[in-house]
Amino acid sequence: MAVAQAKQDTLEARIAGLSFPNEGWQAPARFDALERLGAMGMPGRRDEYWRYTHPSSLTSPEPLPAPVFVDTAETMVFDAIDRLKLVFVDGVFDAEASDDLALSGVEIDLLSQAQSDIHWARDIYGVLEARGQTPVQRPLAALGTAFSTEGVLIRATAKAAKPIALVYVHKSDTSDVILHNCIRVEAGAEVTVLESGPAAARFTKVMEVDVAEGGRFHHIRAQGPDQDRRAATHIFARLAEEALFKSFTLTANGVMTRNEAVLELVGDDCVAHVAGAAVGDGMFHHDDTVFITHEGQRCESRQVFKKVLKNGATGVFQGKILVKPGAQKTDGYQISQSLLLDEDSQFLAKPELEIYADDVKCSHGSTSGAIDDTALFYLRSRGVPLKQAQSLMVLAFLAEAISEIEDEGIAEDIRQRLEDWLASHEH
């Protein structure tokens, strides 16, 4: 009882300063989310999926200040990619810096401007999030539905002409931003969404993705490189027959990142991959929490998470595959690995399988290790300096996760980004 009360108190304090937008088609969904939130309270340390990650900095009334990271030397990630760019500065849409919201194959709206009573996103907004609240509660996602101030609504009706890039700029040391994006990929359509940037001192974000029959959705995200930012993000996806969903996240730096992905493979023959490459140096806490539900038959899911940790950085992975009765011929793969560059860093992993069908193939593995000394010596014996040899080994370690990106140009951009990061951290 005392615990529940504490969670309620934390919730009250958290939302006390927020204004509740209750207009237009979103209002009912926001009220429902508020109700869910009231029943759950904020996450607490004793919650099963918050044992390894302390939620307090994500649930406190005010964010801890995060100085804006000035990083002039690097070229920005995805700059080289031909894309439709939408810029948000501390959560506020920046029309000047953005391209027109027009792209062949897709309809794009801003959440704040889509206020009429009727909108296609009504069938998704808060709907997938609500589905994802069982069996594991995700109060920060409900917060994101109830209190989001902005977001993008993307509906792909054909193959999008180019990727849509959401660029989250962080300019205020104390910004506390809540965004909510909805994506609907219609039958046979295809779209790629890129996300980059630190967004805010504290960023709470939900993305709901509904992929219809044979639709294809690609998501590539680069979080960072701010040191002090905090983020709690959620992806909720629902896949119909023969749908494809692929999400990859690169995280470089960040004192606190919690990325949740909740994927429902509802139709038969669909494919869902979620991958992450995280590199942390020092004050770095990175948590990937994934829940994949197989309902349809002959579906494939892959989770590939790699973390490189040094100087006391912490990595967390909690990944679950749930195979429901009747989800025959499921092919589930899960791997989570960490490369610990010193003994001060730690990796905490909790892989779970729960299977209620008899004809399935599921595997999971989790490892933690140091750089292979023999390989390092071999590289050095050929003249590669120690730091460079270590970087090569780190990139090699992350390669399996990066190879989950289908578009070779984007994959190369991510690789370049990582190399830059490694070069700047070679000390």
């Binding site: 000394d373 010596f377 071999y378 050095r380 014996s381 003249g383 120690l386």
Partner: protein, 251 residues
């Protein structure tokens, strides 16, 4: 070229002595062979020269063209012109063979104050050298040594040597695991590199290799020391009679 004086080495972790006063001098332009029973310390000598961790030098020195190797990092030794073809080449999953070679070449060039090789020039060079060793393009695309057969790994070592053009080449049992044709390819690769400014130290158990790569000097190593030095006829003697006679002679 290479001058080793009274080199004593023990394992870092335990008090096991492996090299007990190695003396060896290899002149520029020459090929020296080292033979010796299993466990006599041949690979250890090559690792210590290349700078592998895990060994403690308790006495002695090893100089490459007058510069003390034992004080250098492994990559500095490579840049100074030392190359070791490993007895057991290492697999590195995730690092492409091409990336590896190119990184190594450019790192060495940089250390010597030379410009990086352009991607085009590099490709041309690799193709030419790989072809001579019958290493196909597909193998070059794979991660370093991953899934290579024993003989392919050895050929890959020689390819690296041919690309890096070191001045002091140490080959540790490069012949083991090679079929007859591959032995010929590898030997041709080595012979093509022979010149007045370069020297070879070839560790082997068999005369077969020395039929292709004719040594100027043959050393016998036993129990952590060079116990006998002679001409090519010494290898023939080992081939015929084994080590027993030679060892009883020196003890």
């Amino acid at each position: 070229m290479l001058e080793i004086n009274n080199l004593h080495v023990k394992l870092e972790e335990e008090d096991k002595v492996i090299l007990r006063g190695v003396d060896l001098k290899v002149e520029a332009g020459s090929v020296h062979a080292i033979m010796g029973p299993n466990g006599s310390g041949k690979s250890t000598l090559s690792y210590v020269l290349a700078g592998r961790d895990g060994y403690t030098v308790t006495e002695g020195s090893a100089k490459l063209e007058g510069a003390e190797l034992l004080e250098m990092e492994p990559e500095e030794r490579a840049a100074a012109g030392l190359f070791l073809a490993f007895q057991y080449p290492v697999e590195i999953p995730g690092v492409g063979n091409m990336t590896f070679l190119r990184t190594a070449m450019n790192a060495q060039r940089k250390a010597r104050g030379q410009d990086e090789l352009s991607a085009g020039d590099f490709l041309k060079l690799v193709r030419e050298k790989a072809k001579a060793l019958k290493i196909d393009a597909d193998m070059m695309k794979r991660p370093v040594n991953v899934g290579f057969s024993g003989g392919e790994k050895k050929r890959n070592e020689i390819l690296q040597m041919a690309m890096l053009e070191p001045r002091m080449c140490i080959l540790d049992e490069t012949d083991s695991g090679l079929d007859v044709d591959a032995m010929k390819l590898v030997s041709d690769g080595v012979n093509a590199l022979r010149d007045a400014g370069r020297a070879f130290l070839v560790i082997t158990h068999y005369q077969r290799l020395l039929d292709h790569i004719h040594p100027d000097v043959v050393h016998i190593m036993a129990n952590g020391r060079i116990v006998k030095t002679g001409g090519p006829e010494l290898a023939l003697e080992v081939e015929k009679n084994g080590y027993a006679d030679i060892l009883s002679e020196v003890v």
